[in-house]
C-alpha cells in the first residue's frame, strides 16, 4: 500500500546569510589577489569594494527576509559569488592591458556600477512582485514587448552592427543588447501561453518511426516560433540569439506537454537554418572553420581569438597561473566573450570546474523550484529560465573550448556588459520569487484559513 508523504521546506535564512558572507569573502579575496598578482600590492579601493559588496549582500538578505522568507537559500549566494568573480576577472584583464598595452578594455568600475544597478533591480523585483502569478497577466504584453525589443537592433538610427551581427542598439553613446531583456519577456509569454494550451498540444497524433507525433493541427505555434527565430537569423545574422529563443520555446513546450517528440521535432527544424547560416553567412562560415581547424597555417590568423583562448587554457593547466598572473590580455574580448578562457588560465582546470559547478547548482535550483511549484505557469517559467541559463553557459563555454562553433552569447553574471548583468539579476529575482512560492507551506494548511480547500486525496 502506497501513501504520499510530504515534507515542508525550512526557511533557512540564517544559512543564506552565512553563505552570502562566505561568497562576499571569496569574491573580495579574488579582487585582492588580482591586485597582488598584477601590482604586488592590495588594490587601493579594496576597502570600499569590500564594504560595498557586503552592503549589497545585506540588502539582498533583508529583502529576502522581508518579502520572500521561504526562498531558496543558495540562489543568491551563488549569484553574488559569480558576479564578484566576474568583476575580479574584468579587473585582472584591465590591469594586464594597462601594463602590457596590447589592447584596451573597460575597467571593472563600470561593471561594479552595473552590479549595483542589477542588485537594485533584483531587490525591486522581490519587493514589488508579491506573487509570480501576477506575471501571467502580462502574457501578451510580454509577447509584444519581447518582439519589439528583439527587432530593435534593426531600427535605422539606433541599430548597431558589430562582428557581423546586428544585436546591439546604441542610444547616446550607451550600447545595449535588447535580446537579454527580450529573453525574460519571451519566457513569461511562453509560460503564460503554453500553460493554457498544453492540454491540446499534448494530444497524440500519428505515429512515425516509433514516436508519437503531435496532431498536425498543433504545429502552428512551433512554426510561428521557428519563423521568428528565422527572421532573427536572417536579418540580425546571429545564430546564437536565434538558437537561444527557439531552444527556449521548444524546451518549454516539452516541459508543458511532457512529449519527447517536440524536442526531436525542434532539433530537426533547427537543422536547415543552421546549414543555411553555415553556408551562406560569411562570419558564421569563418567560425565553423575555426571550430574544426583553427591551428592550420591557412586559418591561423583568421582564428586568432580562439587560438589565443586555447593557448590561455593550456597556460592555465591543472592549477592555473594564479589570479592576476596570467596573460588574458592577449585574447581579444578576454573580459566578455572569452572570460571563461581567462578564468581557466588564471584558476586552472580546478577553478574552471568549480565555476561550472556553480552554474550547475544554480540551474539545478531553478529546475527544483520548477518541480516544487504547484501551478503550471510557475513550473514553466522556472524551467524555462533555468534552461536558458544552462543553454547560454553551454554555448559560450562550448564555443571557447571548441566543443561547438563560437556564437555571440554572454556568460551569465560573469561577462562584462551592463545589459546582460542587469537582466540576469532580474532573472535571479524571479527565481527567488518562484522558489519562495515552491517552498512556502500552502495557505490551505493553515487551520481556519478562509481559503476553500482544494480537493485532495485522503488516504483511508
Amino acid at each position: 500500500m502506497a501513501t504520499i508523504v510530504s515534507y515542508t521546506a525550512r526557511p533557512r535564512r540564517i544559512l543564506q546569510a552565512l553563505l552570502l558572507a562566505f561568497a562576499v569573502l571569496i569574491g573580495v579575496g579574488a579582487y585582492a589577489l588580482v591586485g597582488l598578482g598584477r601590482f604586488d600590492e592590495l588594490p587601493p579601493n579594496l576597502l570600499t569594494y569590500g564594504i560595498g559588496a557586503a552592503v549589497l549582500a545585506l540588502i539582498l538578505q533583508v529583502a529576502v527576509m522581508w518579502r520572500a522568507p521561504y526562498a531558496d537559500p543558495v540562489i543568491l549566494p551563488l549569484v553574488v559569488l559569480l558576479n564578484l568573480l566576474g568583476i575580479a576577472m574584468i579587473e585582472s584583464v584591465h590591469a594586464a592591458n594597462s601594463i602590457y598595452g596590447l589592447r584596451s578594455s573597460a575597467s571593472a568600475d563600470r561593471q561594479m556600477l552595473w552590479a549595483i544597478l542589477g542588485v537594485a533591480a533584483c531587490v525591486a523585483l522581490i519587493v514589488l512582485l508579491r506573487d509570480h502569478r501576477h506575471l501571467r497577466r502580462y502574457t501578451w504584453i510580454s509577447a509584444v514587448a519581447g518582439a519589439i525589443l528583439l527587432l530593435l537592433p534593426l531600427a535605422p538610427v539606433i541599430g548597431d552592427a558589430r562582428n557581423g551581427s546586428k544585436i546591439w542598439i546604441n542610444i547616446a553613446g550607451y550600447s545595449f543588447q535588447p535580446a537579454e531583456l527580450a529573453k525574460i519577456a519571451f519566457a513569461i509569454f511562453f509560460a503564460g501561453y503554453l500553460v493554457s494550451r498544453r492540454d491540446t498540444l499534448a494530444l497524440a497524433g500519428p505515429k512515425v518511426l516509433g514516436i508519437h507525433l503531435p496532431r498536425w493541427s498543433d504545429f502552428g505555434p512551433i512554426l510561428v516560433a521557428w519563423g521568428f527565430a528565422m527572421a532573427v537569423l536572417v536579418f540580425q545574422t546571429d545564430l546564437g540569439t536565434s538558437l537561444m529563443f527557439f531552444g527556449l520555446f521548444v524546451v518549454m513546450l516539452y516541459v508543458a506537454t511532457d512529449r519527447l517528440s517536440w524536442l526531436v521535432i525542434g532539433a530537426i527544424m533547427f537543422l536547415p537554418p543552421a546549414v543555411f547560416a553555415a553556408t551562406q553567412m560569411g562570419h558564421v562560415r569563418t567560425r565553423i572553420t575555426c571550430w574544426l581547424d583553427p591551428l592550420s597555417s591557412a586559418n591561423y590568423s583568421s582564428c586568432e581569438q580562439i587560438n589565443q583562448g586555447l593557448f590561455g587554457l593550456a597556460n592555465g593547466g591543472l592549477t592555473g597561473a594564479g589570479l592576476g598572473e596570467g596573460r588574458p590580455d592577449v585574447v581579444p574580448h578576454a573580459e566578455s566573450d572569452f572570460i571563461f578562457s581567462s578564468f581557466a588560465e588564471e584558476l586552472g582546470m580546478v577553478g574552471a570546474f568549480a565555476l561550472l559547478l556553480l552554474y550547475l547548482l544554480l540551474v539545478q535550483r531553478a529546475i527544483r523550484a520548477a518541480v516544487g511549484i504547484s501551478d503550471g505557469f510557475g513550473t514553466l517559467l522556472a524551467g524555462g529560465l533555468g534552461f536558458v541559463m544552462a543553454l547560454q553557459v553551454f554555448v559560450v563555454v562550448g564555443g571557447v573550448t571548441r566543443v561547438i562553433p563560437l556564437t555571440g552569447l554572454t556568460l551569465p553574471f560573469l561577462a562584462a556588459g551592463g545589459s546582460s548583468l542587469v537582466c540576469n539579476w532580474l532573472i535571479a529575482g524571479i527565481l527567488v520569487r518562484l522558489s519562495d512560492a515552491a517552498r512556502r507551506p500552502a495557505a490551505r494548511q493553515v487551520p481556519g484559513s478562509p481559503v476553500q480547500p482544494a480537493p485532495r486525496a485522503v488516504s483511508a
Binding site: M1, L19, A202, G322, L361, Q364, V371, A457, S459
Partner: protein, 175 residues
Amino acid sequence: MSELTLVALRLGFVLALWIFVIIVVLVLRNDLFGTTVVTRSSRDPRREQRPATGPIGGAAARAGADPASLRTDPEVTQAAMVVTAGPLRGTSLTLGSTPILIGRAPECTLVLDDDYASNRHARVFQREGEWMVEDLGSTNGTLVSGRRIEGAVPFKPGAQVRIGRTEIELRRGPR
C-alpha cells in the same frame, strides 16, 4: 609580499571556491521538500522524524481532529471519487468545483505510482452539473467501463474508470 605567501593565498582561494561548492551541495542534500510516494510497509526513518504536514497529511489530520469543521450540512449530497483497485486502493477524493488531474506528475491531485500511467493522464471535471472524465493524450489510454475513450466522456456514478492498474469509481452520497 613573499612569493610563498602568494602561492599559499592562491591555493587557499581555489580551495575556498571548492569549499563553497561543497557546502552548497551539502545544504541541498539536507534540503528535501515536496511530496514523495512511499510504500507503507517500508520503514522510512525520516517519516517518523518529520510527520507529514503537507496538504494530504494536513487534511487527514484535521479531519480526524475536528470532523465537524469539514461537515457543513449532512443533507447535502456530495460526489466522491473512490479508488477501488490499484496501489492507492481505498483512497477517496471529495469532488468540489475544481477539476481533478490524475497522473504520475507531483502536481496532480491524485498522484499515481504506476508505470502504466502517464504524467498527466486524465482529468475529471464538472460540466453543466455533470461529471466528465477526459483522457489527456495518455500513452496507455483511459478506459471507461472497459472501453478506451477519446476526449471527454460523461463519468456516471458506478462506472469504472481504469488508468493503468488503478480503477476509479464515482459515488454520490452524504458527505
